[in-house]
């Protein structure tokens, strides 16, 4: 009879057995797994509450084996605030896309960050509205074609891609903000380290932390997964450079 000597990889405990609803090549699944691994490693699953958004990840509350809810579009930081204020010793995180966080929910994320709300936000930026079918997002690149910018995004008409990480990092209450991507194994490792740090900042009660993950949307971009990954690296990182924008956790975690 075969026996298992050593488990080298398995499904994180914090993920539920529900199959993801994401398209092939979409990065939501990778980021979900990273978050679940971090929660497992930190041993905080039994005290974590998650707030899912409206967007492609609307079902995220169901993909994690955690207490969770779904906020109205853009309002996840306010919902998380209410939870955290009610239960300050629990870990609360929001999972939001670019339409949710950077458009309809701008006020909520700015003020949660500014209050130094002791929550963690995972921000998925794929420069397009996925759920509703590829419309222009606040983070859509200049010249990028979407169903509502069919001639390419034109700054005069639609303004510029909004850099949330840079913007929020100017606020006193933000303690850790980093932008990453998950296009290569090395990047995945970096993203995991960043997300872990963000949760650690919360565990230590330091204030608001956010990790922005640049992600692909092969379906709405009209690219194969490989092409999409390449496009992300070549184009998105120019407008949205990777890096740590604020880190007030030094010596604290």
């Amino acid at each position: 009879m075969a026996t298992v000597d050593k488990i080298v990889a398995q499904m994180p405990k914090s993920l539920s057995k529900v199959e993801f609803s994401y398209c092939p090549g979409c990065h939501h699944g990778i980021v979900h797994r990273i978050i679940a691994e971090v929660i497992d490693e930190l041993g905080i699953a039994e005290k974590t509450l998650m707030v899912a958004p409206v967007g492609c990840s609307v079902f995220a509350y169901n993909f994690f084996d955690l207490d969770g809810t779904v906020a109205a579009h853009g309002r996840a930081p306010a919902v998380a605030t209410g939870m955290k204020r009610a239960l300050p010793d629990r870990i609360v995180f929001t999972y939001q896309g670019d339409g949710d966080l950077a458009s309809i929910g701008t006020a909520e994320i700015v003020h949660a960050a500014n209050r130094g709300e002791n929550i963690t936000t995972i921000f998925i930026n794929n420069a397009v509205y996925g759920m509703t079918g590829g419309q222009m997002a606040p983070t859509t690149l200049i010249g990028q074609k979407t169903t509502t910018s069919p001639y390419g995004r034109e700054p005069k008409a639609n303004g510029y891609p909004i850099r949330m990480s840079e913007m929020l990092s100017t606020l006193e209450g933000a303690v850790y903000i980093e932008r990453t991507m998950v296009t290569t194994p090395q990047n995945v490792i970096k993203t995991k380290a960043a997300i872990k740090k963000a949760f650690q900042a919360q565990i230590k009660g330091l204030g608001f932390s956010m990790i922005e993950v640049l992600s692909t949307c092969p379906t709405n971009w009209g690219m194969t997964p490989i092409e999409a990954m390449k496009w992300l690296e070549e184009n998105m990182t120019k407008t949205f450079p990777l890096g740590v924008f604020v880190d007030k956790t030094k010596g604290m975690i």
């Binding site: 609803s21 398209c23 609307v58 759920m131 169903t147 379906t219 092409e227």
Partner: protein
């Protein structure tokens, strides 16, 4: 129109879904292995998936978002799509969403499509908006083929105005589509008509049963 994979593209409401279902049913007569893929991410209504149970009863494989997300307004492309486009044992029909916005998903499947024995079929109903002249139609062909990152292989005349369609209407459509064919060099595969209509024109006829009207 000989092929293993038939991909229907076109403008909103041109009749892609009706043609996809009817094509799948027709193919089923000659093969036990027929799949219908619904990757309409644009409209949550009038989709092949609405007829899933009926088609599965005919032993036609219907590939769409998982059951529990069927009613979600989510652009889910399930991973099996690539599989059925590549699987040589299956005759496969692909129902794509309308306009270039719907055709763009073919881009994400480009690596599967490149190697497949496939025909991209552009469906025309001249009685739909932005589709009444050969100029408009050829402009649409150009836009959709660029979004899909594929050449259009055939045109289909599916001109109709629902239950009020007359043979004259079908003829008008046929004339316009033939002129488009002349302009673009893309051959016309057939004219599709409702099974209750008696019509004989210049092009081969494909008789169809209408499904979608039952949806409301």
């Amino acid at each position: 129109m000989d092929s293993r994979v038939f991909i229907y593209v076109g403008m909103f409401g041109s009749g892609k879904t009706e043609l996809s279902i009817n094509t799948a049913i027709a193919l089923r007569k000659s093969s036990n292995k027929v799949a219908l893929i619904d990757i309409d991410i644009i409209s949550p209504y009038f989709r092949s998936r609405d007829e899933k149970a009926f088609l599965e009863n005919l032993n036609i494989k219907v590939i769409t978002a998982p059951e529990r997300y069927m009613l979600a307004d989510l652009p889910i492309i399930p991973p099996e799509v690539g599989g059925y486009i590549s699987n040589k044992e299956f005759l496969t029909v692909v129902d794509v969403g309308g306009n270039e916005d719907g055709a763009i998903v073919l881009g994400s499947l480009n690596h599967f499509l490149q190697n497949a024995d496939k025909k991209i079929v552009f469906v025309v109903n001249v009685f739909r908006p932005f589709s009444s002249t050969e100029e408009e139609i050829s402009r649409n062909i150009d836009k959709i083929s660029r979004a899909a990152r594929c050449r259009i292989d055939y045109l289909v005349n599916n001109s109709n105005i629902g239950p009020e369609t007359t043979t004259n209407d079908i003829k008008t459509g046929e004339e316009i589509v033939l002129r488009v064919s002349k302009m673009t060099g893309i051959p016309v595969a057939f004219t599709s008509i409702d099974e209750n209509i008696d019509y004989k024109g210049e092009l081969p006829i494909f008789r169809m049963k209408r499904f979608m009207k039952n949806s409301w």
